[in-house]
Subunit: 232 residues, 6 copies
């Protein structure tokens, strides 16, 4: 199967990191292809950035399917334009927030989320409520770092994420922690070891769940909300 | 005060109709300006169309504020890109679905919504749940008409909307009906008289609520989710 | 249009303050009339006081409509007897809690409420849940002051309200603060300037929203729960 | 123990019926006293009637406690002024809607409610939601009869209630039916036999639950919302 | 009437304590019989223990009904196998968590729960949500004691429960506290006196509510989920 | 990886069918082993049967892990004893209802469920609410067939399931249908083709999701509710 992981921002180093994380978990028969939404903002930090990436993201979805993608992962924790992606696709499309919270809910009765900037907290809270899992989400927390700090080798971003996870463990009474940014995908193993709690990464969750949907023979329903866009 | 009503699709005749509806209810000191999201799809019928209109809509929001808008109404019942509009604006920004359901909830304990195409029903259901008013919304119904049929003089669109409202009254046990498309704004009075139930139009609700927020001195909070976009 | 703002308690100085707040925001064509529920308790601090004011409040609603009121605001944050007011009225009737939380939800993704006495906290929590906005309300807080302390020039009531708003900003991660008592209406501007966060007053929100409903041609639905009382 | 059952309307024949129903189920050591809210409307059919009965009801609560009541039942399905009753009382106070839905939820996974007039349907729906049991309540139905028709020997009220219960069984997939008016208390046994489904009466549920709270040593909490009213 | 209180664990000293608590509150005409689920784990501390007690518990339910029980109380705060107990019984069956939270909700607008081990906290949170009372439950807390420490005279279990209740009062803004373990039944009066807040015990609440259901003539509905098991 | 699919009832032909369905979708590197809960009831049709299968199911979970299982699927739509299974396991454990509804929510905005007996409808409704997806589940329906009829070649079970799906499409406005019994696993493809709507089978969803969790490196959290049972 061919799985396409789309980075909806234009930072190629993030795409590389995401693809690496996806390949590390994909099944042996799965080809993972990465795509970058060239033309999109360098990072998605709020609704405006979501809008600014959306058309580029959709173009990548369409091209990915045209070139044989069986499933698509949208690798940004704000799950930007997921409804629209599902309209233009025929295979399954998964955002990493949705995949992450649903995975978390399968291995723990409660979890907290650690994201980058404070402004992303209410965005994610709304997503979690939309997915119906607010009763299992203890708290959405911010490590107070910009997304791209995760790309800078010398930054204290990793240390801050680790510190925030430790605060979540101490204060939230949570059973797992979900990383709230695709750019944290490479930290999962280290953080899990450091913090002594299951640390979940949305990219790997979405990758393996997307494979799962393909294997289960499931494709996006074309009846109702996700029907193909009407030609204008 | 200057109120700008933006039609997020590119059909100018809809803009005219919307502006007329807004002007009919605006206060004497309010200047209503209409704007069309040129470059957007001709109608918004699903998530893809929302994405395709969003950047154009944001451009209009920015220009409107640059030219002195005190408040902005986004006149499409899918409330496209409202979060992003609020990020780029400093004054209040209101979508007509949010304004419509909140107005309905102030004059009735329950209401039903009548929209255009069946594919818009789940989109609106999700919005109503996001706004916390699903317990007052009996049902979201479709009149099974494309949006642009409302612009065609000879079409049976009006008759279909009227018939669907009558079905809502008969089957839903609702106390009011909310029109689920900006293109129905000119039908409100006629439908109210025909059907014997309060018929609410989101355009007029959003227009008068936006004026209300301005008069009450309220502007979009710039702390948190709606802070100005980060420059990239 | 004629807008009648009813103070459901019998403290005339509060009526004056409320009317002043309403007049400061009403449109140029709007006549604002204040009414005091003579015979009601001096302040509404709990369910018993609500009951004791209700018949007096209803009398004022009926007289107000008899004398040409187009809309009515009930200026107590407990929204006392709102359902009954809507039954006896034909125009729109708005409580300041409902108006306040719905206004807050339009300019911020989250808000906290600061009220007077601790005993009012659960009363307001229940109202917020009834209006469907508990997911946007971070916390209902008390400044631990009796309502009438807000009327006493020398009291520390203002300082306590200010201090509680600052605590809300520090602890609640909220994007706006809603004042939970009609008697705080005159503090709005000062508190907003002092605290650096949008501070919302229910009286001004209800005043401008009530005007909005009238302009939008909306009246209380007489089908169902708000039908006129049955003569006995 | 002394249990006082208050009829919040002024129709003495209803009080008699209610007291009879309460006595039929009370324990041998329980004295049941009936009280009528003289001065209240003849029946409670909407929010206005609730307001008009409330002060009279509170007077009866206060007198009942002064004369040694250990617990109080408010025998109207709209649970009028329950918060205020709890403020003035020290023992437990139970409304028959709250008691009825909580009893129903203990013997069935789902139930429907059959009340009198259509206008009471939204009132009860809101109560059920407030009590947190909307997920177990299939539907609130009206038999389309005024409350006092239940007092008229020759009326078809009983037949209509029976017919509506049968419709509930056929259409709602419910496991029990709750009678939504104190005036139906005498029909419970007959309806249960006729309809072949557990039929629950709020008066008997509230009577036995109030006794239960007294036996369990529970009294209304005087910390917070139900603290004694503040003297003015 | 005959009321059977079943201790679903195999610790006979807990059964004695539970029966004593039940007898102390039961009506004069009520015979209270205790039963121990011999063969079950010594205490129920998690889902595994629930499973391991369930078949033994069901056997006791069946024998109790065969020997004339009118109602059954399952005296473990995890409400183990309640659905199955209701299937095999014909009279009412009540768990002490369900009874406790419903009693708490009748005398207070909010409550906190104090249980034994931290691992029971999410179990109880899920129950409270299932019963629809999460909006009234401030917090579920653990005193960090194993269940059987409550049976050991010299342990500090009582002091820890008392300390946790005091923390709940200070931090949770709650109006009552519910004891989250049957083994705390004998502490209720002492804790209530010590802590100055209504302290509710599920065993006494379930005992008196079960009596109440019997007096009200209510039996488990045999239509739907609680129908007798199908013979295999 | 080794995936063990446990049939919690004792009907070996169902185990065969389930294993076949699982093998058909599992990845090439996955060994699927079936296990039957010998000693359990022949089918799970209600809470009593759940209890009667639970200890046998747990034994299979423990043996499966002892023999190297990386993940476990519990193949009954009532998700019996899932919490207990997670306590005794260290790898992920998935029930087919949870997997099914979460898969459905990823490819459609709404779905209906078709199960066997009417008595299972409320059981499943409660599960769906527990998983937070009641807002996406249009209706739980019964084909009015006993579970084992699905094992009888000559029965009309298949036709009834197909008919019920067609009713769901016509009446529920749903975008997908989820099969509510493990015994329907072999019908998925046929029903999907017959009915023209995505038909989802919980067994295949749980199989592929369990593989996904293993690949993503996720194991059941041992902090909190799912910690290993305490030795007694």
């Amino acid at each position: 199967m061919k799985l396409v992981v789309i980075n909806p921002n234009s930072t190629a180093s993030m795409t590389d990191k995401i693809v690496e994380a996806a390949r590390a978990v994909a099944g042996s028969g799965t080809e993972v292809e990465g795509r970058t939404a060239h033309g999109a903002p360098a990072s998605i930090e709020g609704h405006f950035d979501e809008v600014m990436c959306a058309a580029h993201l959709l173009r990548e979805v369409q091209e990915a399917e045209a070139q044989g993608a069986d499933a698509i992962v949208v690798a940004c924790f704000d799950d930007p334009a997921i409804g629209a992606c599902r309209e233009v696709a025929t295979g399954p499309v998964l955002g990493i927030c949705e995949a992450g919270v649903k995975a978390a809910s399968m291995i723990a009765t409660s979890f907290s989320i650690v994201t980058t900037l404070p402004r992303s907290v209410p965005v994610i809270e709304e997503l979690v409520r939309r997915y119906g899992l607010d009763h299992q989400c203890r708290r959405v927390r911010s490590a107070e770092i910009p997304v791209l700090a995760l790309e800078q080798p010398g930054s204290d971003a990793r240390a801050r994420v680790r510190a925030e996870i430790l605060r979540a463990i101490e204060e939230d009474n949570c059973e797992a922690v979900l990383l709230g940014c695709a750019g944290m995908a490479d930290l999962t193993e280290w953080l899990s070891a450091e913090c002594g709690i299951p640390v979940i990464d949305g990219v790997t969750a979405a990758t393996t769940f997307a494979e799962a949907l393909v294997r289960a023979g499931l494709r996006t329903s074309k009846i109702g909300a996700y029907a193909h866009p009407i030609q204008k």
